[in-house]
């Protein structure tokens, strides 16, 4: 679903990501971990067509992000770490805007908005301007907007920041549901316990290079993901 081949991204002379390759299959929940500034967000943004890159290729559902970014974006949803949404819109206006852009029919969008807004207990606040939302509410709204067009791939940067425990639990269930329906999820996180319990596969990035990748058992072995990560960071 997401194929990153030899990705290299530089900011001037600084190499942010170097020769990174990753393959995420349909149905996989793929965690992406690394310290601050390791290159996670850069990789994620390149994957979503938000950043140009110097070398390599990225394919979303077989579509080259560089050559056909619009088609690639139709199959994915991106949720940034800091949900900078259009604050001048109300929650419902924002969801309808996203639905219009993805050309979602009336019945489907009504059904999706109703389902997920109720699930995240956001329905009563949908008329409120996003500028008046808390961080968690914005995050919930971004998640609902991402789910409206049933994307084949969801790319998330620190998705659990700001979510309350109930919303976190529900979102994890939704992530599992998306994957069980043939979708794929690629997300970065610093919460290693969550990654360990939730992910099928995990990739660890350090200083722009992928240092470990594979199934959760392959990566952590007999220890915990946290111990593995800390050991790798020391090397």
């Amino acid at each position: 679903m997401l194929r990153i081949e030899h990705l290299t991204k530089k900011y001037g002379d600084k190499v942010a990501v170097e020769d990174l390759s990753l393959h995420i299959q349909p149905g996989e929940l793929y965690g992406f971990i690394g310290h601050n500034g390791a290159g996670k967000t850069t990789t994620i943004k390149c994957s979503c067509g938000l950043l140009s890159f110097d070398e390599g290729e990225i394919f979303v559902n077989g579509v080259n992000v560089k050559d056909n970014p619009i088609q690639a974006k139709r199959d994915l949803a991106y949720i940034p770490d800091n949900p900078n949404l259009f604050e001048y819109l109300s929650g419902i206006d924002y969801l309808n805007f996203v639905a219009d852009i993805f050309e979602i029919d009336k019945a489907t969008r009504e059904n999706k908005i109703s389902k997920y807004a109720d699930q995240f207990e956001l329905t009563s606040s949908l008329a409120t301007h996003i500028s008046d939302y808390s961080h968690g509410m914005k995050q919930k709204l971004a998640i609902i907007a991402a789910l409206i067009h049933e994307p084949k791939l969801i790319v998330l940067d620190e998705p659990f920041v700001g979510l309350d425990p109930i919303a976190t639990f529900q979102f994890k269930e939704i992530m599992k549901e998306v994957c069980s329906n043939g979708g794929a999820i690629f997300f970065s996180t610093h919460i290693l316990d969550v990654a360990e319990k939730l992910c099928d596969k995990v990739a660890i990035i350090k200083d722009g290079k992928l240092i470990r990748t594979g199934t959760m058992d392959e990566v952590k072995g007999d220890t915990s993901l946290e111990e593995t990560f800390l050991e790798l960071e020391k090397e």
Binding site: N84, F86, Y88, N96, D100, I101, F102
Partner: protein, 527 residues
Amino acid sequence: MFLTLTKYSFKQYFSKKSIGKKKIRVPQWLTYVLLIVFLSVTFFSLFRELAASLFPIRMGWLYFCLVMLLSMFFMFMSTIVLAENNLFKSKYNDLLLSMPIKSSDILLSRLLEIVLYNYILELMAWIPGLIGLYFEQPFDLGQFLILIVALLFLPLITVVIGTIFGYFLNKVTSKLKNPQVFKVIGTLLFLGAYYVFIYFSDNLFEDILYAVRNFETAFTIVAPIAWFGKAVGDKNLLALLLFILSNVIPFGIMVLVLQKDYISVMTASQAKAVKVYVKREVQQKPRIVALWMREFKRWLNSYTYLINTLIGILFILAATIFVIIKADVIRSTMIVEMAGFGDLFFPVMAIIFIEGMLCTYMVSSSSISLEGQTVSQLRSLPLTAEEVLNSKLIFHYSLAAPIVLFASLTIVIITQPVFLLGLLVVLVPQLFLFITGELGLCYNLKYHKLDWANEAECVKRGGATFLSMFGNYILMGLQVAPILIFNYDIEIEMYIFYVFVVMVVLAALTYLLIMKWGCRKYSVLGE
């Protein structure tokens, strides 16, 4: 602590970020200079006339009172906004309250910031006021020193009055579902009052002279104003002392009252009107309509953006209504009186007037910058750069086009020019509107600022906005210049037709530029 806070609050005005990139500093500062020169010249001519009338009849103190009132007016208007944004709902309230800083220090540093800002505004009235006086009346050193002392204290009472208004404004707007409308109406009323004042200023001064005794009585009732006038005009030290006390005491009382429970004041404004969502049938819209609606809602929800774009359009609307009311006069008098230019005068002037007003209509020139940090969100959606940029162009055009069309058609109906000229009166302003939108978008694609903290940084102080306004005036000037150069001795209909043809070509070329270069610029925004 107070000094540290004050130092950091002033850093925002002098940090590199607030000044902007080197590239956009020149037009920005040039505009500030031009604005100050324009206001100074306007007020200088008014005050000089006033000084010439008042001093010979020994009513010099009234002159100082009137300049003082104007300076207070400027300070009052800015204090309302500053008090609302800085004193009551500053975005840094939570951050500062979380630190071991006394709330009284926060209050005093913010009040000092407002007072110092008011000194600058005070000078906007007093510099032309003093220059106007210098030309008409000898001004001795003693009088000047008394004036300086009085001016040092004058902002205090204005800050008190402005803060009280700002407090109530904050209370009212926090309870409204759409506070922008309230603020826009208030601003338009203020601007209306300003223009009425300027329009009737000649008669006003005559009225003042006729009723000068009544004014003296009126000002005596408002004692601090009279004390100010007497202190400076008559070099009365007792009046100066009374004036200083009349400023310091209310200011001191206000500080004491606010200081008592400033934490409550800072946090009280967080309560907002809540809209409860009621499920309604949704409509599926085409993508371009959805993008247009997004632009419209941003415009409607931003006081700064709204007011900066509305003025020009409203002037066109007001002038059109005026033309409709005075239709008979225009038909019978103006056309005949402008014999040198024949019956073409009014239609041609209408085109120039509409274009002149459209020069200040700034929508597209800040529409890229206004995306701010949300540009990643927009770019993550399956939208082409062409779609996004077209939506901005269409929005710029569609917002003003109906009013421009209404104005053009009114002129055509009233003046009934020949067919070609009538057609051009309708088409040329529409084309000008479209081109200014295109150019504004180009400027903003080139000079954008996405990391702003306040919309005013890109709407009011954005380099692209200034460039766009100057560019528009130059474009208009290029059209008008040949008429003036040839002293109206040209075939005006054909000339406007050629202008129209050139503008069509320019519009097409600029559109191609946006679709090629502009789309490339857009596709790397925020990287």
